[in-house]
C-alpha cells in the first residue's frame, strides 16, 4: 500500500521497531502483531553501529540486533516475510543506504513492501541522488523538520518530502519523555498544509499521541516505548499499548 493511501484514513498511528531485535527471525511476527493491534504504518529500523539521532533505548536495541546477526540482506527478507497489508517504512542511517548503493537500496525497498524511507542524517541538501533513486522505484523519501527549523527552510523541506513530513517533537534524540512541549505544538501549527504530518520523538503514551493529533498532526509516531517493551519481552503489553494509542488517536480526531 502507498503511504498516501494510508493517510486517507487519518489520523494514523505509526509504530517504530528496530528490525532484528531480539532476533531477525522474530521481526516478521512482531510487525504482524503491531498491525493486528492497530498500527497503520510500521516504521522498521535498520540497526546501525553509530545511531547519532537515537537515545539510549534505541541504541541498545540496535546493539542487540547487530549482535543477533541483523544485516541489510536479512532486513529486506524480514520486511518481505512480514507480508502485511499496510505500508512499511525504512528508517536508518545514510551510511547503511550508501554502502548498499542508492539505486539497489531503493529497488530492494520496493521489492520487499517498503513504501518509504526515513534517513535521519540525510538533510534535503544532500539527498539529491537518493531522491532520484527513490523516484525511479516509486518509494517515498520522507524528510524531517524540527522545532528549530526556520520558516523558509521548513517550506523547502515540505516541498522536498514525499509521503508525509516527519516532525521532530523536540530537540534532542529519540526516547520516551514526560510531556509535549509548546515547541511541538508550534511546529505542528507551522507545518500544517497540503503535506500530511507525523510527529515523533518522545511520544510514549496514549495522551501524548492524542495531544499531537488534537494539535493538528495527521499521525503520531511511537518508538522507544514499544522498543522498551520488546526488550523486556512483554509482547502482550506491547499490543495493549499500541491498541490504546490507536484508540487515543482515533478519539482525538472526533474531539
Amino acid at each position: 500500500m502507498k503511504i498516501s493511501e494510508a493517510f486517507r484514513n487519518k489520523p494514523l498511528l505509526i509504530v517504530y521497531i528496530c528490525a532484528g531485535d531480539p532476533s531477525p527471525e522474530e521481526t516478521p511476527d512482531l510487525v504482524r502483531r503491531l498491525v493486528r493491534a492497530g498500527a497503520d504504518i510500521v516504521e522498521l529500523g535498520l540497526p546501525h553501529s553509530d545511531p547519532i539521532a537515537d537515545g539510549p533505548t534505541i541504541q541498545a536495541a540496535a546493539q542487540r540486533a547487530i549482535a543477533a546477526g541483523m544485516n541489510t540482506d536479512l532486513y529486506f527478507q524480514a520486511a518481505a516475510d512480514a507480508n502485511v497489508d499496510c505500508p512499511l517504512i525504512f528508517m536508518g542511517y545514510y551510511n547503511m543506504v550508501y554502502a548498499r548503493g542508492l539505486d539497489r537500496f531503493a529497488r530492494d525497498c520496493a521489492k520487499s513492501g517498503i513504501a518509504g524511507m526515513i534517513v535521519p542524517d540525510l538533510p534535503p541538501e544532500e539527498a539529491g541522488p537518493l531522491r532520484e533513486a527513490c523516484r525511479r522505484h516509486g518509494v517515498d523519501l520522507i524528510f524531517l523538520a524540527a522545532p528549530n527549523t526556520p520558516p523558509e527552510r521548513l517550506q523547502m523541506i515540505q516541498e522536498n518530502t514525499s509521503g508525509f513530513l516527519y516532525l521532530v517533537a523536540r530537540a534532542g534524540v529519540t526516547g520516551a519523555r514526560s510531556d509535549i512541549q509548546e515547541a511541538t505544538r508550534d511546529l505542528i501549527a507551522r507545518a500544517s498544509g497540503d503535506v500530511p504530518t507525523a510527529v515523533g520523538f518522545g511520544i510514549s503514551t496514549p495522551e501524548h499521541a492524542a495531544e499531537v493529533i488534537r494539535s493538528g498532526a495527521d499521525a503520531a509516531i511511537v518508538g522507544s516505548a514499544c522498543v522498551d517493551l520488546i526488550a523486556r519481552g512483554e509482547l502482550d503489553r506491547l499490543e495493549q499499548l499500541v491498541r490504546q494509542m490507536k484508540e487515543a488517536v482515533r478519539r482525538a480526531k472526533t474531539q
Binding site: N71, Y93, N95, M96, L144, A146, P150
Partner: protein
C-alpha cells in the same frame, strides 16, 4: 547547489550529513566563523592568545643527529612545545573564541586519548566556559592522568558507555548532547573531520603550523622542503602543516596507524588506516573514507596511539589522497615504538606515540623524503609513558 554547499565539499567528500535538529546549530557556527575569520579584531585576538598563552611560534628544529643517521636534512616542527603538549590548542583556542563571539556559555567536546579534552579544558578554564568532555569508558581507564588534568582545570569528564566506548562513541554522544543543548552550548570538535564547517575551520586554525614552518624553512634553508611527513588520525595536524604547501612542489606524506597489521574481523580493524584501507561512507556528518563492514556498520579501529585510533578521516585528506596530491602510508605499532625510542635517544625529544608514527615511517623509508624534509612532531610523549612501559613489559 548554492555557494554555502559547494564550500562544504572537497570534490565528492565532505558535506553536512546531520539530523535536522543539528542543521541550524551547524549553520550558525559556519556563518559565525565566516564572519569572524574576515575580522581583523578576531585575528588579532587569536594571534595574541597563540603568542602569549599557547607559546607560538614553535621552533622548526634541525634534527642534526637524525639527519646524520639518515643522510639527509631533517627538520622537526615542534608542536610538542605548544601549551598542553600538542597542536590541539591551536584549534581549541580558535574555536573557543568563535564560541565566545557567538555568546555561548558552555563547551562540549569529545576526546580519545584525552589531548583534545585537555586542550578544551584549558580554553574552558582560561576563557570562562562551563566545559564537559565526553570520553569513552575504555579510554578513561587507559588515560587516567589526562582525565585528572581535565578535572583539575574545571572540566567535567562524562564517561561514554555506548557502542565501543571509545572515541567514535564519544563523538556520537557529544552530537546527541548538542542536539538538545545548542542554545547555550558550542560543540568544540577536535579534528579536521565532522560536518561542514568543522573540516575547513579546524584546518584553518591548525594551518598556523604550516604557515610558520614555511617561513622558517625558507629562512633556514633558502628553499621549500622536498617533503613533509605527518601522522593522520582524523587529520588535524596533517592538514595544519600540509595546507600552506598544497600548491607547491612539496611531497606531502600522510602516515596512518598500521596497528597490528592491515587486517580486520567482523567488528574490529587491526589498524586505523581509513585513507589506505577504507571505503567511501558517511561518518560523523561527512562523506569520507571510513573503515566499515560490507553492510555499512562502522568497524572499531585500533592503534597503540589513541589519537590515531579512529575509523574515519577528514574529508579534505580523503579528497587530496584520491587526487594523488598527498601520498598515504602506514606505520604499525612496532614502527611507531621505534620512532618513539629513536627520537628520544638521538635528539632528546620524546614524541607523542601519534607523532612517533611519522618518525617511524621516516626511519623505514628515508629515501621517500628527498634531501630536505620536515616531520610534524604533533605532540609530546609524556602522556604515553605508561602505554609504552606496558607494551614493553617494563
Amino acid at each position: 547547489m548554492n555557494q554555502a554547499q559547494s564550500a562544504a565539499k572537497f570534490g565528492r567528500y565532505g558535506g553536512c550529513f546531520v539530523p535536522e535538529t543539528l542543521v541550524q546549530p551547524v549553520m550558525e557556527v559556519a556563518s559565525a566563523y565566516s564572519r569572524l575569520k574576515a575580522s581583523p579584531e578576531f585575528r588579532r585576538e587569536l594571534e595574541e592568545m597563540l603568542k602569549h598563552f599557547a607559546g607560538r611560534p614553535t621552533p622548526l628544529y634541525f634534527a642534526k643527529n637524525l639527519s646524520r643517521d639518515l643522510g639527509r636534512r631533517i627538520y622537526l616542527k615542534r608542536e610538542d612545545l605548544v601549551h598542553g603538549g600538542a597542536h590541539k590548542l591551536n584549534n581549541t583556542l580558535g574555536q573557543a573564541l568563535v564560541a565566545k563571539h557567538m555568546g555561548k556559555t558552555r563547551l562540549i567536546a569529545e576526546t580519545g586519548a584525552g589531548q583534545h579534552g585537555v586542550a578544551t579544558a584549558i580554553v574552558g578554564a582560561n576563557l570562562g566556559f562551563e566545559t564537559q568532555v565526553y570520553m569513552g569508558e575504555v579510554d578513561i581507564e587507559r588515560q587516567k592522568m589526562n582525565v585528572y588534568r581535565m578535572e583539575l582545570m574545571g572540566a567535567e569528564v562524562i564517561p561514554v558507555r555506548s557502542g565501543s566506548r571509545t572515541l567514535k562513541d564519544a563523538i556520537n554522544e557529544a552530537m546527541r548532547d548538542w542536539s538538545s543543548s545548542f542554545e547555550n552550548t558550542y560543540y568544540l570538535f577536535g579534528t579536521a573531520a565532522g560536518p561542514h564547517p568543522f573540516p575547513s575551520m579546524v584546518r584553518d586554525f591548525q594551518s598556523v603550523i604550516g604557515a610558520e614552518a614555511r617561513g622558517q624553512i625558507q629562512e633556514a634553508e633558502g628553499r621549500l622542503p622536498d617533503s613533509i611527513v605527518a601522522c593522520v588520525g582524523g587529520g588535524s595536524n596533517a592538514m595544519g602543516i600540509f595546507a600552506p604547501f598544497l600548491k607547491d612542489d612539496v611531497r606531502l606524506i600522510a602516515v596512518e596507524a598500521g596497528g597490528r597489521g592491515l587486517g580486520h574481523d567482523d567488528k574490529t580493524a587491526d589498524h586505523g588506516a581509513s585513507l589506505g584501507c577504507g571505503q567511501d561512507g558517511i561518518l560523523h556528518g561527512s562523506l569520507t573514507r571510513i573503515l566499515q563492514d560490507p553492510h555499512g556498520q562502522i568497524l572499531e579501529s585500533y592503534s597503540i596511539a589513541a589519537g590515531l585510533d579512529y575509523p574515519g578521516v577528514g574529508p579534505e585528506l580523503a579528497y587530496l589522497a584520491e587526487r594523488g596530491r598527498i601520498k598515504t602510508a602506514t606505520a604499525d605499532d612496532r614502527a611507531a615504538l621505534r620512532g618513539f625510542r629513536t627520537l628520544s635517544r638521538r635528539e632528546g625529544i620524546i614524541p607523542a606515540l601519534e607523532s612517533a608514527h611519522a618518525v617511524g615511517y621516516v626511519l623505514r623509508e628515508p629515501e621517500a623524503l628527498g634531501d630536505l624534509a620536515i616531520i610534524n612532531v604533533s605532540g609530546r610523549g609524556d602522556k604515553d609513558l605508561a602505554t609504552v612501559m606496558e607494551y614493553e613489559n617494563l
